[in-house]
């Protein structure tokens, strides 16, 4: 069982207070292309409460990643509002957004996106350095503790290229947890992993949810999606189904 080290306030990171932790209201996203406007999201409404584990599934080009980008502030809606942890993400400037994102969201990318010139432990310490969420003298211990949780402590001082894909993805998750954010966002976190490793990563996510984290993942693997507590199906930029797991669409 994963136990998160050094949580900032000693309680579950996000307490449910009846209000959604993440809320999208009437979100549209239009991309301008050479052949005309392409609607990536159409009037999307989505509420996610603290402690939920939500899988967003859909075909390639359906708008899954765009939806995540709205939540992370990586992209901005053409219309509508995005609220995360009581912050109007759609109104944040790029600079404030970076700091806010670092503290509130842990992002895990499909291609891991570890900085190749930094060691594994340095990659994990980097968000803490930027956001100063933990005192300087605690950062290394916290990074090591996170690596231990990921069973990668032995690899702390290796460069990312020396690790397998699954190991790199676990490092990326550890980095996502570095600032102890209430929300973890993962875009195709198992897309580049074999099924056994993917299984392990999902196990980690489940443990994090049990610790109180809110997790949203994008995947096109329906079997994996079923491991989440809730599954949202997106097609042509619209959420066509949004149900707790085990309920037939």
């Amino acid at each position: 069982m994963l136990t998160l080290p050094f949580t900032k306030n000693g309680k579950k990171p996000a307490e449910s207070n009846g209000y959604p932790l993440i809320s999208l209201r009437g979100v549209d996203k239009l991309y301008k292309t050479a052949v005309g406007d392409f609607p990536a999201l159409v009037n999307v409404d989505l509420d996610i409460k603290a402690g939920e584990f939500v899988s967003v599934i859909g075909k390639s080009g359906s708008g899954k990643t765009t939806l995540l980008n709205m939540v992370t502030g990586i992209d901005r809606p053409s219309a509508g509002e995005v609220w995360v942890n009581e912050t109007a993400v759609h109104e944040l400037g790029e600079n404030k957004m970076a700091r806010w994102r670092g503290i509130n969201l842990g992002i895990v990318f499909q291609f891991f996106q570890l900085l190749p010139m930094l060691s594994v432990i340095e990659n994990i310490m980097l968000p803490m350095d930027f956001c100063k969420t933990f005192p300087k003298n605690e950062r290394k211990d916290r990074a090591l503790a996170l690596l231990e949780q990921m069973e990668l402590a032995d690899h702390a001082y290796k460069l990312p290229t020396a690790l397998s894909g699954g190991q790199q993805q676990r490092v990326a998750i550890a980095r996502g947890l570095a600032n102890d954010p209430p929300v973890i966002i993962a875009d195709e976190p198992t897309g580049n992993l074999d099924s056994k490793t993917a299984e392990r990563v999902f196990g980690l996510f489940n443990e994090l949810v049990a610790q109180g984290k809110t997790i949203i993942i994008v995947t096109h693997d329906n079997e994996m999606a079923k491991r989440a507590s809730r599954v949202a199906l997106i097609a042509d930029g619209e959420i066509v189904s949004d149900k707790p797991n085990g309920v037939k669409a």
């Binding site: 050479a34 980008n69 992370t72 502030g73 990586i74 992209d75 790029e94 600079n95 404030k96 970076a98 700091r99 994102r101 670092g102 503290i103 992002i107 990318f109 291609f111 996106q113 900085l115 010139m117 930094l118 340095e122 990659n123 310490m125 980097l126 968000p127 803490m128 350095d129 930027f130 956001c131 300087k136 950062r139 980095r175 996502g176 570095a178 600032n179």
Partner: protein, 797 residues
């Protein structure tokens, strides 16, 4: 160290090639500015410090004999600081190989007791001067190249043909003497008794070295004080034959070195501009490579300011290393070059110094300029959003715009060559910066080569006034028929002309002041002068009091124009002359030369048929054969007891002149090569970055069958294409730079703008350098690209 600073260090240390190129780029500018600044400061400090320590005279008056009483009365004139009399004798040093060297002897009582133009030990570490006894001689140290050792006996042929043997007592450092290598005349010192033994006088002085009490660098003031001394002397019954005032208060090479320093300074800052272009180029590509990393850092919480600080620190690191390398390197090489210049221009150097002014300039070039150059590209990249940074998957378009029309197939160029050419234009800003660097480097190189050509042309222009193969000067006037007959009896002589040369003065319109000049009187039908006229006409047979003046007289008498009548004082007789033309001659000519008809001048002086020099044309074009004729002439004239003061070969004269300009050209060439190196670095950096960016494309090409050679060819052709583009543009830009350089150097060094010369040599040499640079700069990236495997390239992130 926190992780973010570890990243900065990893960026610095992790890619050593890029770091090396970046540092080298900054070093080029920092070193160039440091070297030029150090050299300028050291030259200005040491050259004048050594010169002024000799209490130099600002003016020399060549006069009828002066005794000590007269000298004491001249010392009392207002404005005179020190005035010292010397007697001198000019003779010829007979060398073992039969050659003769003109040598001038000054009579001095004690080498250590001179008050003006003092002497110092030849070796700066010595504290005492050698003593001077009867029949001993001291030589200025610049004559060491003649090969005499202390204790050797020197054979001196006097003007009356007698030979005296003098023992070389030692070498001294006479900083106020123009070096032997430049003047072609050695300076020697003997005691008054020895001078008398050699035909001079021990009781009187024939030369007055005058040092003014104040305002030593004020030419007008020095001229006024000198004139007052001359007037007092002439009132007392003496005669002033000639006054020499040259660049008062400064070492004789001061003006030239100032020009050199200014021009080198300009080239140095141009190198800084090139270096800044290259920094921009490298930073643009670095940032483009790092955009994804920046996106990730932003995704995990870094703000724009934090990332800016990280990259600013990285650039600061590059600057620190460049600074640490450049400061001692430029100081050391500045010292080495200074030693060379000091040996050449005959001055002692001072202690090694690191000048704060230079260090500040170098710090600015190493730290501020790269930061300023990098600021915009850094800012543009760190502002990138996370989505933009992370959205670049697959091959992307990487600078390729959607073509509006389908491109046509070329029958001339193969597809890989077309890929190379299209690749060239994909990153237009990067191409523009690379081209800017190479174009500027090429333009500077071609301009310096053109300056080389201009110097050559200038020498040819100067030679038009001295067209003879051999110039024979006599100690006194001889009948032309007599000396010409002797000379023409030597085989190989084609023609001889007899010329007259006299000192004189031009009197101002209000008759209050006079300026020294020298009258040159060739025969009216002379074929040995091809003047460059800027106004009016040249002398014609039948001209009587016609005179042609030159640019040097105009610089002291700018009011003169064609048609004016001027009053000259020649041998104490005043006469009026009408200006019929104005000629131009580059270079320093002191005093100014004016040309008059030989027939008229000799008639006016009751010296018809007398000549002071012969200009000889030989039928030989080979320098060695002309030199042999010169030796034969010397022997024959000696036999006939003709008192020759000097026989000068045109080739020797040309060599002495070009030695003076060669140093400047070599310096400029070094700077031009430095700019070429920077240009090459720019191209190498661009090609490396282009190749790196196209790693995936290379992978795809390899996957569809491209061989190592195909990949290498695509990269090499792109590099060559950029090189050739820059070559063409560089030629165009070299025209205005040549024009500015030729004008600036002409005014600074030759006192007159030089004629613009645009040669093919520079263009062709730069073409060869460009091709070589392009191949060198592209070879490493091409090789690296061809070694990538398909798996590696397609996995590249």
């Amino acid at each position: 160290m926190s992780s973010r600073w570890k990243k900065v260090w990893a960026d610095f240390w992790g890619n050593k090639t890029r770091t090396f190129l970046m540092i080298l780029t900054i070093i080029a500018g920092t070193f160039a500015v440091g070297l030029n600044s150090n050299l300028g400061l050291l030259m200005n400090r040491d050259m004048d410090a050594d010169f002024l320590s000799a209490n130099p005279s600002e003016a020399t008056l060549y006069v009828s004999p002066v005794d000590d009483d007269m000298l004491a009365s001249l010392q009392e004139i207002d404005g005179v600081g020190e005035i010292e009399g010397r007697s001198d004798v000019t003779a010829q040093l007979l060398q073992d190989d039969g050659n003769k060297v003109v040598i001038s002897f000054d009579g001095i009582k004690d080498p250590a007791e001179l008050s003006v133009n003092t002497l110092k030990p030849a070796n700066p570490s010595d504290t005492t001067l050698p003593t001077l006894n009867d029949k001993e001689v001291l030589l200025d140290r610049t004559a060491k190249s003649l090969g005499y050792e202390i204790g050797d006996m020197l054979s001196i042929e006097l003007s009356n043909g007698k030979v005296r043997e003098l023992r070389l007592a030692g070498y001294v450092h006479s900083v106020t003497t123009i070096p032997y290598a430049m003047m072609g005349q050695a300076q020697a010192f003997v005691n008054p008794e020895t001078l008398e033994w050699m035909g001079g006088t021990a009781d009187y002085y024939t030369k007055l070295n005058l040092s003014v009490a104040e305002n030593a660098t004020d030419q007008q003031h020095v001229s006024n004080v000198t004139q007052a001394v001359s007037d007092r002397f002439e009132k007392a019954g003496g005669t002033t034959y000639f006054i020499l005032i040259f660049n008062p208060g400064h070492h004789f090479a001061w003006d030239v070195t100032q020009g050199v320093i200014v021009v080198l300074g300009v080239l140095g800052w141009m190198t800084v501009a090139l270096s800044a272009f290259l920094v921009v180029n490298t930073i643009v590509s670095l940032m483009s490579q790092h955009s994804k990393q920046i996106g990730i850092m932003k995704a995990i919480g870094a703000d724009t300011r934090q990332i800016m600080v990280m990259y600013t620190t990285l650039i600061f690191f590059f600057g620190v290393v460049a600074f640490i390398v450049s400061v001692p390197l430029s100081s050391f090489l500045g010292g080495v070059v200074l030693d060379g210049m000091a040996g050449w221009l005959n001055f002692d150097t001072g202690a090694f110094t690191i000048f704060p002014k230079t260090v500040i300039q170098q710090a600015a070039v190493a730290f501020i300029i790269p930061l300023l150059a990098a600021l915009l590209p850094m800012w543009n990249t760190v502002r990138i959003t996370v989505r933009e940074a992370l959205s670049d998957y697959g091959l992307g378009n990487s600078g390729v715009k959607q073509a509006k029309k389908q491109t046509k197939d070329s029958r001339v160029l193969s597809r890989p060559v077309r890929i190379s050419i299209r690749n060239t234009f994909r990153r237009k800003m990067r191409l523009a910066l690379t081209l800017s660097t190479l174009v500027l480097a090429g333009a500077i190189f071609v301009a310096v080569m053109n300056l080389f050509g201009t110097f050559d042309q200038t020498m040819r222009d100067v030679e038009k006034y001295f067209l003879a193969d051999i110039n024979i000067s006599f100690d006194r006037a001889y009948r032309y028929e007599k000396v010409a007959g002797i000379v023409e009896s030597v085989p190989g002589i084609e023609s001889v002309e007899g010329w007259m040369m006299l000192g004189g003065e031009i009197i101002s319109a209000d008759e209050t002041t006079a300026n020294e000049l020298a009258l040159v009187a060739p025969p009216a039908d002379s074929t040995l002068i091809e003047p460059i006229l800027t106004e009016g006409r040249w002398l014609t047979p039948g001209d009587e009091n016609a005179i042609v003046i030159g640019n040097h007289l105009l610089s002291v008498r700018p009011d003169l124009k064609v048609g004016d009548t001027i009053k000259l004082n020649i041998l104490d007789r005043e006469s009026e002359w009408k200006i019929v033309g104005i000629y131009n001659i580059p270079g320093n000519v002191v005093p100014p030369l004016v040309y008059v008809n030989y027939d008229y001048l000799s008639h006016a002086l009751n010296a018809t048929g007398d000549v002071y020099s012969l200009r000889v044309i030989t039928s030989e074009s080979d320098e060695a054969k002309v030199a042999a004729i010169g030796t034969q002439l010397q022997t024959l004239l000696d036999e006939k007891q003709i008192q020759v003061s000097n026989i000068e070969l045109a080739a020797e004269w040309r060599l002495a002149q070009t030695q003076q300009t060669d140093v400047l050209v070599y310096f400029m060439l070094v700077m031009a090569i430095l700019t070429a190196v920077v240009g090459g670095l720019g191209l190498m950096s661009t090609m490396s970055i282009n190749t790196l960016e196209r790693t995936r494309e290379i992978g795809v090409m390899r996957a569809i069958g491209a061989s190592n050679f195909d990949i290498q060819k695509i990269v090499l052709v792109e590099g060559l294409f950029i090189g050739l583009l820059s070559w063409g543009a560089g030629i165009l830009l070299s025209a205005p730079i040549t024009s500015a350089l030729v004008y600036g150097v002409g005014v600074a060094i030759f006192k007159s703008p030089l004629k613009f010369t645009f040669g093919v040599d520079g263009i062709m040499i730069w073409l060869a350098i460009t091709v070589a640079l392009a191949i060198l700069a592209s070879a490493i990236p091409a090789r690296r690209a061809s070694k990538l495997t398909v798996r590696d390239t397609l996995a590249y992130e």
